[in-house]
């Protein structure tokens, strides 16, 4: 396959020249031809290809970021043929040979997103402009994912999103250069809904506490749609400030609202705090309308479950992946991760690992690192053996479709990592939707 679809545009050349000026630092470089040799940004010239891993290293999600970084390192090892190969052994179909990507050794650079859009973009730009990163991956919040994805579209660099759960990432704000393996709020609702119906009945009144920003709203909307479809009523939806810390003033009104389910559309520290505090208010010991009061946390992660401690027990929620899954891919990944680090990977680590492998595989299949070709190789790709069963990367919105886990806080954990029980692996067909419902526009393959 040709590496060049069309000749370099004038702007591209100018940019290349400018980049050359920067890299070499001195004016005469402008006259040398090497500056004109790049048909696309950061085309790997030597025998390595550089990937950029952009994760939160400071701030509340630093532990999640650290876990993502471990997964990235593991993925790089496996791609370069070191270690036990992990999911390379289970991935179906597979073009990777454990000898790097397209014969080039995989190297990586890292950066700190600080879970802030500006810092994340600055860090991504550094990896692209200075370190020559060909692909950016990672992240632990939707705001950051959308911001970095937008940047990557402008820069013509592929972005393989890490943990981002908002519908917007592959909906309103979807981009041609952005891909998401993680599930989203809509899928959480679609998977949780039926289970909630089975467990708690169809005659319920739900009270929503929602983090007051875009992810919270999409989560609330998806949960409302899913529960109201069951026949539940929505008693009240209340927005809470992000990082409120103490949620007591939002929890007390729940007590006498006549609601019998509390849905916490919170993530991270907000979730840990609001869940801990809601349970202290005795909500779970309450009887309302003749039924046991229930709390639901639509998005769970094991790391955050650790923060909530005992309080997580028996609480229903959804997850992208959990290390207790028994399929061959998951087991292979858990095995090599656990052997290297001594504990099992989080779902953030899983999605980052898979994303890296998928990108590498797509390059191998496209036969080039040229982003538009790699994008085409990823779009509409079907694969299996990487956890969650057969998976489809939908071309229309770059969202992966796979089984979604409904999980429950483990009542009797056998270890400090055994916090979530998989209640149900909701089949992919049940969580699929029409990409048109969230709008958005992917944009072009070719960027200047």
């Amino acid at each position: 396959m040709s590496e060049r679809k069309d000749g370099p545009s004038r702007r591209k050349v100018l940019k290349g020249a400018a980049a050359g000026l920067v890299t070499a630092g001195v004016a005469p470089t402008i006259l040398t031809s090497s500056a004109f040799g790049q048909e696309y940004r950061n085309k790997p010239m030597g025998d390595t290809v550089t990937l950029g891993f952009n994760v939160p290293q400071t701030g509340s999600y630093a532990d999640e970021g650290a876990d993502e970084l471990r997964a990235f390192q593991l993925a790089v090892e496996h791609l370069n043929g070191e270690g036990d190969g992990g999911m390379l052994n289970t991935m179906q179909p597979k073009s990777l040979g454990g000898n790097g990507v397209l014969g080039k050794k995989v190297a990586y650079v890292t950066g700190d997103t600080q879970t802030k859009s500006d810092a994340a973009r600055a860090s991504a730009k550094r990896m692209i402009e200075k370190d020559g990163a060909l692909m950016i991956s990672g992240g632990s919040s939707s705001g950051v994912a959308v911001a970095v994805q937008g940047l990557c579209q402008e820069m013509g660099t592929i972005f393989m999103a890490g943990l981002t759960h908002s519908n917007d990432t592959t909906g309103k704000d979807k981009r041609r250069y952005g891909f998401r393996h993680f599930f989203n709020a809509y899928m959480s609702g679609a998977a949780l809904g039926p289970v909630l119906g089975q467990e708690y009945g169809t005659d319920r009144r739900a009270y929503h506490l929602t983090a007051d920003y875009t992810w919270g709203w999409t989560q609330e909307e998806s949960m409302r749609n899913a529960t109201e479809a069951l026949g539940w009523q929505t008693a009240e939806t209340v927005k809470t400030p992000v990082g409120a810390g103490d949620f007591s003033q939002y929890i007390t009104p729940v007590l006498n609202s006549g609601a019998d389910v509390l849905i916490l559309n919170h993530y991270g520290r907000d979730m840990v705090n609001s869940l801990t505090q809601a349970i202290q208010f005795g909500l779970r010991d309450k009887q309302v309308n003749g039924k046991d009061f229930q709390i639901v946390v639509p998005l769970f992660s094991r790391l955050m479950a650790q923060g909530a401690g005992e309080n997580i027990k028996g609480i229903l929620g959804s997850a992208n992946w959990n290390w207790s899954l028994q399929d061959a891919g998951s087991q292979a990944f858990v095995k090599s991760f656990g052997a290297k680090y001594g504990f099992p990977p989080s779902m953030a680590a899983h999605t980052c690992y898979v994303q890296t492998l998928l990108y590498a595989d797509a390059c191998e299949r496209a036969g080039t690192f040229y982003p538009p070709e790699v994008i085409k190789a990823l779009e509409g790709w079907d694969f299996d053996g990487m956890g969650n069963g057969p998976t489809h990367y939908r071309a229309a919105d770059h969202q992966c479709f796979k089984d979604v886990l409904v999980v429950r806080g483990n009542e009797n954990p056998t270890s400090q990592f055994d916090l979530l029980n998989v209640v149900q692996q909701t089949p992919r067909a049940q969580v699929e939707y029409d990409p048109a419902i969230f709008g958005g526009d992917l944009g072009p393959y070719e960027v200047s």
Binding site: T276, F281, P344
Partner: protein, 342 residues
């Protein structure tokens, strides 16, 4: 009505926390004239005293089960806490009560931290501009929290309260109303009572001991007190230690409500400054009054009925109140003239 009453309870409980945190800050400012941006970090260190105690109490004996293996191929570990193995029921009692126990550790530890901080760093900044005090204490706060992050990670670490007080108290029923209408978590009531006791103790200490009298005189006029031959510096060091202890105890007791992480202090920093300034820089009663006022207003502003009238009011209420109070009362509720206006 019930809703308002409950929000009022919330306000008291929040206000107690705010007042407790602001108290130490204003104490340090009033006595030493130092703007201490590391005060939030002291609160956080207190919280991590509780984490440490619990960590020690739950240190586990690790035996491996040769029969079973983990998903990643290592033998399954069987973990038993030492204290339970050694002390049986008393051991689990200690684990259960780890948070109150932690206060015993927090008092000496925070005292030492406070004194070391003051003697080692802060005392060199008494005569320096406030801007430099801000930079040095902010830097110190970052260093302290990064050290905590290095050892404890960034994730919040849950600290359960003793199981006896784990649930909620039915205050309504106790007051002869319908049961299950006004219920409030025991621990929050305890926290409120605790804050009242600590605030009372600090006031009594300053009011009725010679030490306190000298310090109060020093707050009013440092030079004169120095002139009459009292070594005020030593007492001020002790005051810094006291402020650290108060912040630390507030941190310990707060852990069951808010699983602590290394960043906890920064979240409270801005808030505690707002409380102190609204109360009036250097005024202890002002800080307490402002703490309760802001706590109660914040709780009431979060009611759905009020948010329906003014959307987003709960997001800004604290700052809005601060602006209004400072415009109406130039030096906060109970501030003195000439403090921090240079």
């Amino acid at each position: 009505m019930d809703a308002i009453f409950l929000q009022f309870l919330n306000g008291l409980d929040k206000g107690g926390a705010y007042a407790l945190i602001a108290l130490g800050l204003t104490l340090v400012f009033g006595t030493l004239g130092v703007v201490n941006f590391a005060h939030g970090a002291l609160f956080m260190l207190g919280a991590f005293c509780a984490v440490t105690v619990r960590k020690i109490l739950t240190l586990e004996m690790i035996a491996t089960d040769p029969e079973k293996v983990t998903a990643w191929g290592t033998p399954l570990e069987i973990r038993t806490p030492y204290v339970e193995a050694w002390f049986g029921d008393f051991g689990s009692f200690m684990v259960d009560y780890s948070v109150p126990f932690s206060i015993l550790l927090a008092i000496p530890v925070m005292l030492v931290i406070g004194i070391v901080m003051e003697r080692g760093l802060i005392k060199h900044f008494y005569r320096r501009p406030h801007a430099e005090q801000i930079l040095v204490t902010f830097g110190l706060a970052i260093v302290l929290q990064e050290i905590i992050k290095h050892y404890f990670g960034a994730n919040p670490i849950p600290q359960p309260m003793p199981s006896v007080v784990g649930g909620a108290a039915d205050i309504g029923a106790a007051m002869g109303m319908d049961p299950n209408v006004i219920v409030y978590p025991w621990w929050r009531l305890i926290y409120f009572a605790f804050s009242v006791v600590v605030i009372g103790a600090v006031f009594a200490f300053l009011q009725f001991t010679t030490f306190g009298m000298v310090v109060r005189a020093g707050m009013a006029d440092r030079e004169t007190v120095g002139l009459i031959g009292i070594d005020i510096d030593k007492r001020f060091t002790a005051m810094f230690g006291l402020a650290a202890v108060v912040a630390g105890m507030a941190g310990v007791m707060y852990t069951p409500l808010l699983p602590p992480d290394y960043h906890l202090g920064m979240d409270f920093l801005v808030l505690s400054f707002v409380v102190v300034v609204v109360g009036g820089m250097g005024s202890l009663p002002g800080a307490v009054a402002a703490g309760f006022l802001l706590g109660i207003l914040q709780s009431l502003a979060s009611m759905t009925e009020i948010k329906a009238i003014i959307p987003g009011i709960d997001q800004i209420i604290i700052y809005l109140v601060a602006v209004i109070i400072l415009l109406v009362r130039p030096r906060g509720l109970l501030g003195r003239r000439g403090v921090m206006e240079s």
